[in-house]
Amino acid sequence: MILAQNKLFRVLVGAIALVGLTTLGACSSDGSKDAAGGAGGAGAAGSGADNPEGSVPGGMADASALVDVYFDFDKSEIRSDAREALAKNAEWLIANKSAQVQIEGHCDERGTEEYNLALGERRANAVKDYLASLGVESARLYTISYGEELPVDPGHTDEAWSKNRRAHFLVTAQ
């Protein structure tokens, strides 16, 4: 690909670091056994390392227990770091059987708006399929693509782009 070797490395390190942080957060809230939804929502939102502001209004609550997963440039394959994160997300979804979740697919600002919208959809679908393979009923999962329209980080750097190429989760019913 066009990504230089060291650039790719930084992207991966950045993403792994992020996933590490949020995984820790999810573990502790899991450990407290304080039903990850409901009251947990508001409390966790403040401390969450991963709290994108990009989401369009419409969801009921930000599923703070569900962590974002990240993608390589122009790719929708589930990376190994994303597999770990999705395994945690699947655990939460299996434990919270009534939760309905919207999976948002996002892209970075590079690339064209037209193709990126379809790429975001493919990323969301890839995540949906992966969660289904881990035993989550796919009827509870909805996908929506926002393409490059709602970046978490408005910057124009490799770091910003790596954060923006993501799938984000929104609990729409619980």
């Binding site: 369009v56 690339g111 064209t112 919208l117 379809a118 926002y146």
Partner: protein, 449 residues
């Protein structure tokens, strides 16, 4: 129009080496660095006279609008020295005769003298006379009457009429552009005159609006809105503001394009999983699936004869431009250069397909010869833009001689225009929230209701 195209084609041909032969992927010719300027006709347009002592600004505004239109056509090089023209014109008025020798120091071609006067109540008349500076002969005269406040429309019409008369070309002075802008931080649909004047907001969805396209026959616009928490495809009647859903299936309902007869739309849907191309009536009836792949197919556009559809497919692993018949038969890859080609648009002349093209790490406007689209020859990419910024989402003017596109060269994404040889790049929006994905359309007066 045909004649005009021949000129453009000749200019392009002059600039390009012979097309490469054999099985290579086809070359990329960067025109952005070596622009071929069209041979231009000189014209001086001093401020128009105003009977009734209205503010001086109006007469100067009229002259500037006509000059902008003529310059943008690529055929004229209007004089820019307004101070000189104002004083020379003042001297002509005092002596009640035109000093062609003095005007000859500015141009040896044409001089346009205009006037504005109040006609009936609330009406205004614009008169123009064009002289040949060399011999002082009057070569052309015309007059326009309309509501006071319609100065821009009259000046645009005047420019188009002169262009038709002098170079026999249909101009774009009365055309308009639909685009996405921001209001309250949200993307909404906007409309403006082609020169960036008269920006008006069309939607108030307060969600996300994307990818407008103007109907070439009826006064309608097509767009995608997230108003109902899903990217749905809508058509909006611009005269009444009434909107009609075309497709509201779960997933993407996006990147719509009207057919040349204005009665059908081609667009992409993802409700079956991956994004595929579909066609339907403008009311959404008779939905038909045209592509059947596991890859992404999106951003379709019609050929001007309605026989073909160009679109983006990432079947090769990266997005490339493809073409198929309007029935979805015989899909073939058109671009082989670079790792990202998207958003094709077909000129009304049928001669070119333009698209967003990743070249040298930047997105630029690329163009390929679209004639004899049924044959299998490799087509070279003509790169029209360059530099360190990105240029994306092209759309042809109705006469097929110009392109509008989005670029971030000013720091934010804004709407630009240029000619097909890459010359006359003109920024037409300077909006704080930016201007995105422009779509060029016909003059409102030429559309059916």
């Amino acid at each position: 129009m045909r004649k005009a195209f021949t000129l453009a084609a000749t200019l392009l041909a002059l600039a390009l080496p012979l097309p490469a032969r054999g099985a290579d992927p086809g070359a990329v010719h960067d025109l952005s660095a070596s622009r071929v300027e069209a041979k231009t006709i000189g014209i001086a347009i001093p401020p128009f006279d105003l009977a009734g002592g209205d503010p001086q600004k109006l007469g100067e505004a009229a002259a500037r609008i006509v000059a902008f239109d003529l310059k943008f056509s690529g055929h004229f090089a209007p004089t820019t020295n307004m101070e000189f023209m104002r004083s020379a014109h003042e001297r002509d008025r005092k002596r009640q005769a035109i000093d062609f020798a003095e005007w000859g120091t500015l141009t040896q071609n044409f001089l346009m003298k205009g006037s504005l006067e109040e006609a009936a109540r609330g009406q205004m008349t614009m008169r123009v006379t064009v002289y040949n500076v060399k011999n002082g002969q009057q070569t052309y005269t015309n007059r326009y009457t309309g509501n006071v406040g319609k100065l821009r429309e009259m000046a645009h019409l005047c420019a188009d009429d002169l262009l038709k008369r002098i170079v026999n070309e249909d101009g774009v002075a009365r055309t308009r552009i639909a685009f996405v802008g921001k209001s309250g931080g949200r993307k909404e649909l906007f409309l403006m005159d082609y020169d960036g004047a008269g920006v008006r907001q069309v939607t108030q969805d307060k969600s996300l609006v994307l990818f407008p396209s103007l109907n070439p026959v009826y006064n309608q616009v097509l767009f995608t809105t997230y108003l109902h928490k899903n990217p749905d495809l809508y058509r909006l009647d611009l005269a009444t503001g009434a909107r009609y859903p075309i497709s509201r299936k779960l997933g993407l309902n996006t990147t719509g394009d009207f057919s040349p007869d204005g009665k059908k739309v081609v667009f992409s849907l993802s409700y079956r999983g991956n994004s595929e191309i579909y066609v339907a009536g403008i009311d959404g009836s008779g939905l038909k699936k045209l592509t059947h792949d596991l890859s992404i197919e999106t951003a379709p556009c019609w050929s001007p004869d309605g026989k073909y559809i160009a679109y983006t497919s990432d079947r090769p692993g990266v997005p490339q431009i493809y073409v198929m018949t309007a029935n979805g038969e015989n899909p073939r890859r058109l671009t082989f250069q670079g790792n990202w080609n998207d958003a094709p648009t077909w000129a009304s002349t049928g001669d070119w397909i333009a698209f967003s093209s990743l070249q040298g790490g930047r997105y630029n406007i690329g163009m390929i010869d679209a004639r004899q689209i049924g044959d299998d020859r490799r087509r070279d990419v003509i790169q029209l833009t360059g530099g360190t910024a990105n240029s994306e989402s092209p759309s042809f003017s109705p006469n097929g001689r110009h392109l509008t596109f989005m670029s971030n060269r000013s720091g934010t994404r804004q709407v630009y225009l240029m000619n097909l040889n890459g010359a006359n790049v003109t920024q037409v929006t300077t909006l704080p929230g930016g201007g995105y994905t422009p779509a060029w359309g016909m003059p409102e007066a030429d559309l059916r209701r």
